[in-house]
Symmetry: C2
DNA sequence: CAACATATGGCAATCGGTTGTCATTGCCAT
DNA sequence: ATGGCAATGACAACCGATTGCCATATGTTG
């Protein structure tokens, strides 16, 4: 029985298999990666031996020689933002299904961290997915030239992107508010470097002109619940009756602050959030918000990236994918207060 | 000026630096990793060249030759569970600070996925952090023998662990409920394979005996808000006046369901959650829950793992770290209903 | 100044694979 | 019987770093 020396604890390599089968290591490599290059009989022997030895390829070595790492970097500005949970899950599932590993990095809302991470990932990942980038267009474009990249919620000419169409939902939200009798509305802006925030403001102010209502912009505010207090105070002070917030975190923070100050939602003020994150349905009152298929956006981003990585496989090589969005009406919006 | 051929786009290697400085590649390697092995003057030349060429070591190659990958796997059962956000952020920050990369994997509450991931990570990571493992003690112990490992919320003899002391908080919660006049309490159990859930139940039932109150166990329920409906119905049907839920997700789900059914919280029933996740403070009513320093738990886990990886560096090599927990009282608990 | 210790840097093997190139083999058609 | 082609598998270079060992340069001591 003991034809081989006591099995070493160290994981098996192709050399072990080669020795066991009496072939060269390169043959083993080919049998496993290019099965057609090898006689079916030797291949079967090799496969059997591989199975017996519990062989699993060393991904480092593979990466070194083939140049492909089998990993994809996913950059998000803030891991603890619930918006990214679903996104991350979407990318994770799709990547795993395709045999890739996800390298998740929290860039802490910092463009520097984002840039340096990209540089580092350039060697340790085959491509990257960048959500809500804080970088400028040209930096992003330059980075995309160096490695396959897909952005999420960031539209730069020449860089494949998944766009969640919140601007059009924003107009929808405005219509909703107008139909409830609101005439003075505020947009609670997100970070200045957020393209989403800019685009929404543009869409919103245009829609406002068309509809003849007043919409003012407040902020910028950090996309966190803590910023909601400042946003709420600003909103109250500006004398508007409804606001559309950059995202649900801010909106929820506003809800809390308004409650503290004794201002009723939606009786005294209506609030619309964005993203329909975890929590938007059970806060008090439940938040009217612009919902989008976030997990799906993550999946689509991965598909687009993989299409770049393996151009052979068919599939229209789309460079831009827009995810539909819709308004979900809950309890935080209501008729405008009677007297101003 | 142009002493060198047009800079290639490909990232610089130690050979590029070696050529530029007129030394051997090995010298460059030494200058960068073992500075004392190299003359200070050559070292400075090399460092200058490295900086100029924007050199960054190729982690794959480094891993292959040194055996260390510079990566740490972090396994969580469900990425979308807010509980893990903070944990992940804690590990991420601490790992990054120590120069490690985090490989985040969602094991989808599956022991098989968990086991196979571990096997795969064995070659691509230096160690792993396993949160709320669904594996049995012996499997876990065997895995820990093969690679450095730290568990979170899973106490197995011989495996370093970070334990969030929810059991003692559970007794605290019970006392809180008793002081409010509750005498019939239910424990809404989590997954059967969750050790945390078992330990809490044990602590709770012992405390109940001591205090002479009735505590019954309901479940198991999946740790998701959707399970809250079933849990709420079971709680109502069992005739208790207060319950302690396995975690905040279930508790929040119960809140929603009870509201639908017209059962008032806390007037008709009190609810205590666990973890103090994102959302626990703004749900309706705000949730009384057992809070714990989750992000810190992640950091501690990383520290413990790193201590295993670099035994040289001082620092007591603790094998078990208990994180304190406390009860945060909010609006979901109140006096027991007068009549039963 | 001889003798020896030490500092310094180069060579080459190695990690575990991949892949280009080439030699061998067998089979076919001519 | 022979030339030609395809299939097959071995050899060896290579990916980018690390590291043991050795040769040389330098410095110290008696």
């Amino acid at each position: 029985m003991a034809t081989q020396p006591a099995a070493v604890d160290r994981p098996a390599t192709i050399h072990d298999i080669a020795a066991k089968c009496g072939v060269a290591a390169s043959t083993v490599s080919r049998a496993l990666s290019t099965p057609d290059r090898v006689n079916i009989r030797t291949r079967q022997r090799i496969e059997a031996a591989a199975a017996e030895l519990h062989y699993t390829p060393n991904s480092q070595a593979k990466a070194l020689s083939s140049g492909r790492t089998g990993a994809v970097g996913v950059l998000v500005p803030d891991i603890t933002n619930p918006f990214y949970f679903d996104l991350i899950r979407g990318t994770q599932l799709q990547l795993k299904a395709a045999g890739y590993t996800q390298l998740l990095v929290d860039t802490e809302e910092s463009d520097e961290v984002e840039a340096s991470t990209m540089e580092q990932l350039r060697k340790s990942a085959d491509g990257i997915i960048v959500a809500a980038s804080r970088l400028t267009d040209d930096v992003l474009l330059a980075a995309a030239a160096k490695m396959p990249m897909v952005t999420i919620n960031r539209d730069v000419e020449g860089v494949p992107a998944v766009i969640i169409d919140t601007p059009s939902a924003t107009s929808q939200a405005l219509d909703h508010l107008i139909s409830l009798g609101h005439a003075r509305v505020a947009y609670i802006a997100g970070p200045l470097t957020s393209q989403s925030s800019s685009l929404r403001w543009i869409a919103l102010s245009e829609a406002a002109v068309e509809r003849g209502v007043e919409v003012r912009r407040l902020g910028p505010f950090a996309p966190k619940t803590q910023s909601g207090a400042a946003a709420a105070d600003a909103a109250v002070h500006s004398g508007i009756t409804a606001c559309i917030a950059f995202n649900d975190l801010i909106a929820i923070g506003m809800l809390q602050r308004l409650r503290e100050r004794g201002i009723r939602v939606p009786e005294d003020m209506s609030i619309v959030g964005c993203d329909d994150i975890f929590g938007a349905d059970f806060c008090n009152p439940p938040l009217t918000t612009m919902a989008s298929p976030i997990e799906q956006a993550g999946r689509v981003a991965v598909s687009m990236l993989l299409a770049q990585l393996n151009p052979l496989a068919g599939g229209g090589n789309r460079s831009r994918s827009v995810m539909p969005t819709h308004l979900t009406v809950r309890g935080s919006t209501g008729p405008a207060p009677k007297v101003s």
